[in-house]
Amino acid sequence: MVEIAEGCTLDSLPPMIRLVLQGRAAALDAAAGALGLDAVPPLLRAASGAGGQALRLGPFELMILPALGSRAGLDAALAALPHSLVDVSDRHVGFVLEGARAADILAGLCPLDFAPSSFPVGMVTRTLLDKAGAAIWRTGAQTFHIEVWRSFAPYVEAQLREVGRGISFSLLSV
């Protein structure tokens, strides 16, 4: 646990399997079924099933974090449907930013509104962290899972630390 501001930690996530599924509704439905979900999560929402987690990043796109060893089920469920399923496990590096000031720190780099009413728990979206593309997933009231392309990770980590350095001196209340 690395504290980057009072009561706020930033940690790198260990390697994990990440798959990008693109296709029409039938393919997304089939994948949701294979993951044990009742339905495809709505746009910009994440859902968790026995087979893994699905992050709906676009109308025709899911990022899937399969539970260990469950890719085979996905492939089988999708076999008869037009789709593209691509392993991007190594394309990304994941971080967890957690703490009372986590949303404030993100607001130093990102023009999204992180108020719980605008960005509730379970919401996920691609956006920008300053000049780097990133996907931000609110996994808890004060916890964010951040995915960035591997080569941008040092830049994003340093930017988060820089914002964290000054964040204790602001009274950010709205």
């Binding site: 991007v88 496990s89 190594d90 108020a115 605008s118 080569s151 830049y155 930017q159 820089e162 001196f169």
Partner: protein, 997 residues
């Protein structure tokens, strides 16, 4: 109390907390709450600066951000900040401030001789005078003028502070914390709306901080402010920001605020940002920016000791400072009478009130009369006397028809002027709102808005306090969508009265030599503005640029309306027919540090490091930036320069093997049942017949027919392609693919995924590459027979999943080993160890360039410039003749795209094998052609080729392929032209025997 002009028991400074700072080296004492200006005024000192052009001695005119004169430099070393307004700089122990634009000292300034030459320095003087001799401008005139003119110097040391940025979102942003802003914020805040209230001052209150007369709900104005602020602080949905200026109003209600966090602190906490930019996206904006008092334009109106009447009131009530002992008040409205009454009550003698109006009347005028203050109706100020401080005013009667009679001198050390109040329209105007001229008030007011913004209070011409509070509440409620707001009863207030004056005051005599300033900061006089109009400048925008009025750091806050009125009078046209100059951001100057925010130093831009960056750094590589990537350029050994290292790396690849990190290549996985159809439509090449496991060089054109990108494409499966792009083209190609897929070919079942960073690429190139690789690939047969050039295999390398391409950008037998980037370093290390016995050598981007140029392989963006067809660069063979359509097909059939004299890619050899051409050199037909002439072509790549032992170059030459063996000349800047011969661009192994080895 220190400071002989300090009045005990007055002001909002804290007399229990003395503060000492330095101004021009001298120790000055003040109190917590003082500004530099108020502390100096408390010592009776008005002289604080010298003017821009004439070096006139100047003192503060205002008490706020509109100050044009009292500009100072603050801080030391990297923290030195020039051109700060002394009226805003809060003092703290240890503060170091200096005056500007004077030498050797503020009191005696050699540059002040300019003022004697003022009759010779009218508007446009520089343009008219320093025209001859022509060469003198750069070397003589401009340096001299630059030294004489100007304000503060730029800091020279790096800025040691850090700066922050914060994106905020709210329902209602209220800009300005005076009575209207406080009322609006409270009305909206009580509704539960997310509210941000900002004010540029250290405390909220605005004009009320200098109002000792008004009573609200029985409270003094300042006590009422305290009560409002206390309630706002208790509301969790309200963000209060002081020392925070709203300086830019952007589209769709994005307003930028600049919050100053540490400059007022003697000992700021170590990690505290110095400033923070707030980018606020507001659903609704309430502008409560107030109004600024206008100066009067008369001869000598810039003498220290001449200031706005409202400023004297602020110094009295906010800082407990009397700005002089004996004041003359010159006014065109009632508000200055309240100032005179307050000053008189505090012990300042009021020598006279000269009122420009013929019959001043009303309660304030009566009150002044009752107090025994001498009131001179229909009286103007002909001139002010004094040099470093005003010593007297010449007051003269204005007769019917405007004729000015003989004046009489009145001794004084303070002249207070009031030309009425100009609503602050800056933010409304920045938001592209319309302005309308109000005849009754004689000023511009906000007109129709485009954004979701409304103005409240004095900034829209509402001046009476009770009306201002109601206006603020109404604006706050409307913004927050409510109906019932707070109400307060104003139990005592001044009536706003009527009057006001804009333009140059009437005077007796022609005044050819009179310096009556319109724009103090840029030293623009009434005479300059009149001259500009006489010389034919009719548009106010042209007058502004010719005279520079309104172009200083105060953005014409105090001068624009007076300049407008002068132009209006000279032209005999109404002000609204002349218009107003555009208000531009920032409202007040913002430091570069604040704009830079987090993006400075190494963090200015993302630095993308390829997977083998650490290995290359450990090997002592020299790097180059390629877009955001940092790539190893070459790997020098001890004693080697670049040429030697690159030559060695090239020789190693041609004689043994080289290893190269090619991971930055763009990679896109094209997958789906319609993948081949998509590829057919997107690339100029044909893909249907490319077998699984095979590769092909692909070329992308735009629909204009010009080459856009290139790269090798491998077919992984019937419905899956592994596409590579150039390093710089990766994002653009993917975007272009998505564009056509989503908007033209939405019927296709194919999807695109960027895998640039999924797959690291280890290029292994050279005659011994297979020998090194074969034992590592877990049983995969990579023999020449089973895996020829331009094929690919999926497999593993030491258990790591691998896509192995047999491709070459060097002309040698070569492989590109694609492995997941998280495991790439381990694979690289294994290949490196395996190659040690075979002379395996790391090479960088420079050797890569040399090796490909020896083979005549083009680089898109180097040989091409966005106007080259595939045929121009010798790739006409790649363009399918049979496909019904592809991007660029129609354009490539245009006659002009096939003209024989198009630029075509050729090789170029200098006649002297050791002479080097430079990239970008023009090629011309003869050794000596007088300029200007048109070029036959230009050099695109130039290297020393170790394989050939001579220089080689690639060039684009008109009809070049038909001119092989002929000569051209490359003119040089520093010597005779180089004679060159056009040759085939493939310099090395033209049969490709090595490639297919």
């Amino acid at each position: 109390m220190s400071g002989v002009f300090r009045l005990a028991g007055r002001g909002r400074i804290d007399p229990s907390r003395p503060v000492a700072f330095r101004f021009d080296g001298r120790l000055i004492r003040g109190y917590a709450g003082d500004t530099v200006a108020s502390a100096l005024l408390a010592e009776g000192r008005h002289l604080m600066g010298r003017s821009f052009k004439y070096h006139r001695p100047r003192g503060p005119v205002s008490a706020g951000s509109d100050e044009p004169n009292a500009l100072i430099g603050v801080g030391e070393g990297g923290r030195y900040t020039p051109n700060l307004r002394a009226t805003q700089v809060e003092i703290h122990d240890g503060l170091v401030a200096v005056s500007q634009n004077r030498a050797p000292s503020l009191r005696f300034d050699i540059g002040a001789l300019n003022t004697l030459a003022a009759p010779l320095l009218p508007a446009g003087f520089y343009y008219k005078t320093f025209m001859w001799p022509r060469g003198f401008w750069d070397k003589v005139y401009e340096p001299l003028i630059r030294r004489a003119a100007g304000l503060g110097r730029a800091p020279e040391a790096p800025d040691p502070d850090h700066y922050a940025l914060h994106y905020a979102h709210c329902d209602v942003l209220v800009a300005g914390g005076g009575p209207a802003g406080l009322a609006a914020a409270l009305a909206a805040g009580r509704m539960g709306a997310r509210v941000i209230l900002c004010d540029e001052n250290a405390e909220f209150g605005g004009s009320l901080l200098a109002d000792a007369y008004s009573r609200i709900d029985g409270l003094t104005a300042m006590d009422w402010v305290a009560r409002m602020v206390a309630e706002l602080e208790r509301l969790p949905n309200v963000q209060l920001l002081t020392r925070c200026s709203a300086f830019h109003y952007g589209p769709h209600n994005m307003v930028a605020l600049n919050q100053r966090l540490t400059d007022h602190l003697a000992m700021p906490p170590a990690d505290m940002p110095r400033e923070r930019i707030w980018q606020v996206r507001a659903r609704e904006v309430v502008l409560a920016a107030g109004a600024l008092e206008r100066a009067l334009v008369f001869e000598g109106n810039d003498r220290p000791g001449i200031m706005l009447a409202s400023a004297a009131r602020t110094y009295l009530h906010r800082y407990g400072v009397a700005c002089g002992r004996k004041a003359v008040v010159v006014t065109a409205d009632d508000a200055a009478y309240r100032v005179a009454l307050d000053l008189a009550e505090a012990g300042v003698k009021i020598a006279a009130i000269a009122d420009l109006r013929p019959v001043p009347g009303g309660t304030l005028v009566e009150a002044a009369r009752a107090r025994g203050i001498r009131i001179l109706p229909a009286t103007t100020i002909q001139r002010a006397h004094g040099h470093l401080r005003v010593t007297g005013a010449e007051l003269a009667p204005v007769g019917e028809g405007g004729a000015v009679g003989k004046g009489r001198a009145v001794a004084c050390d303070l002249v207070l002027m009031s030309g009425g109040f100009t609503p602050s329209l800056h933010l409304h105007s920045q938001a592209r709102g319309a302005l309308r001229f109000d005849d009754a008030l004689g000023v511009y007011l906000p007109g129709e808005a485009i954004e979701r913004v409304r103005s409240a209070g004095a900034c829209r011409g509402v001046f009476a306090l009770d009306a201002v509070l109601r206006d603020g509440v109404a604006a706050g409620l409307a913004a927050a969508g409510g109906e019932n707001g707070p109400e307060w009863r104003v139990t005592r207030q001044d009536a706003p009265g009527t009057g006001g004056f804009a333009g140059a005051l009437p005077r007796r005599g022609p005044g050819h030599l009179a310096l009556a300033f319109v724009d103090f900061q840029n030293d623009v006089t009434a005479k300059d503005v009149k001259l500009a109009v006489r010389e034919g400048f009719r548009s106010i925008e042209h007058v502004k640029r010719y005279t520079t009025t309104g172009m200083a750091t105060d953005q014409g806050k105090g001068s624009n309306v007076n300049a407008l009125a002068i132009v209006s009078n000279v032209l005999g046209r109404r002000p609204e027919e002349i218009g107003l100059t555009t208000y531009r951001p920032p409202y007040t100057p913002v430091t570069f540090g604040a704009f830079a925010g987090h993006a400075r130093g190494d963090q200015f831009d993302p630095l993308r490091l390829p997977p083998m960056d650490g290995w290359a750094r450990a090997r002592g590589a020299v790097f180059e930036d390629v877009g955001q990537w940092r790539r190893a350029r070459y790997f020098p050994r001890a004693g080697e320069d670049m040429a030697a290292a690159v030559a060695r790396e090239c020789r190693a690849v041609r004689s043994a093997a080289g290893i190269f990190d090619a991971s930055t290549l763009g990679k896109i996985e094209v997958a789906g049942p319609d993948a081949a159809e998509f590829m057919n439509r997107f690339y100029v090449n044909a893909w249907t017949k490319l077998g699984v496991g095979k590769c092909r060089y692909g070329l992308v054109c735009r629909d204009s027919g010009f080459v856009y990108d290139d790269g090798v494409v491998g077919r992984i499966a019937a419905d899956r392609f592994h596409v590579t792009t150039t390093t710089g083209g990766a994002a653009g190609v993917l975007n272009m693919m998505e564009d056509y897929l989503q908007t033209e070919w939405a019927d296709l079942d194919v999807w695109l995924t960027s895998v640039t960073e999924q797959w690291a690429v280890i290029a292994l190139q050279g005659p011994r590459a297979r020998e090194i690789l074969a034992p590592l690939v877990d049983g995969l047969d990579i023999s020449a027979a089973s895996m020829p050039h331009m094929t690919l295999r999926e497999g593993s390398i030491g258990g790591v999943p691998m896509r192995l391409f047999r491709v070459s950008f060097t002309g040698e037998l070569g492989y590109e080993i694609n492995v997941p980037s998280g495991q790439a370093r381990a694979v690289w290390d294994r290949v490196w160890q395996a190659g040690a016995a075979c002379g395996l050598t790391p090479y960088g981007t420079e050797a890569m360039h040399v090796l490909r140029a020896e083979k005549g392989y083009l680089i898109v963006g180097q040989e091409t410039d966005g106007t080259m067809t595939p045929g121009d660069v010798g790739c006409g063979w790649a363009v399918s003749k049979v496909k019904p359509d592809f991007i660029g097909k129609r354009a490539l059939a245009l006659p002009a795209m096939n003209a024989p004299d198009r630029l075509q890619m050729v090789g170029v050899l200098t006649d002297d094998p050791l002479s080097m051409l430079e990239e970008g050199m023009q090629l011309v037909a003869a050794a000596h052609i007088p300029a200007p002439t048109s070029a036959e072509g230009h050099v695109t790549s130039s290297y020393f080729s170790p394989a050939l032992g001579r220089s080689i170059a690639l060039a684009m030459v008109k009809g070049g392929r038909g001119r092989m063996g002929t000569g051209l000349y490359a003119p040089c800047l520093d010597g005779p032209p180089l004679k060159v011969t056009l040759v085939d661009p493939v310099f090395y192994d033209p049969e490709g025997a090595r490639l297919n080895g």
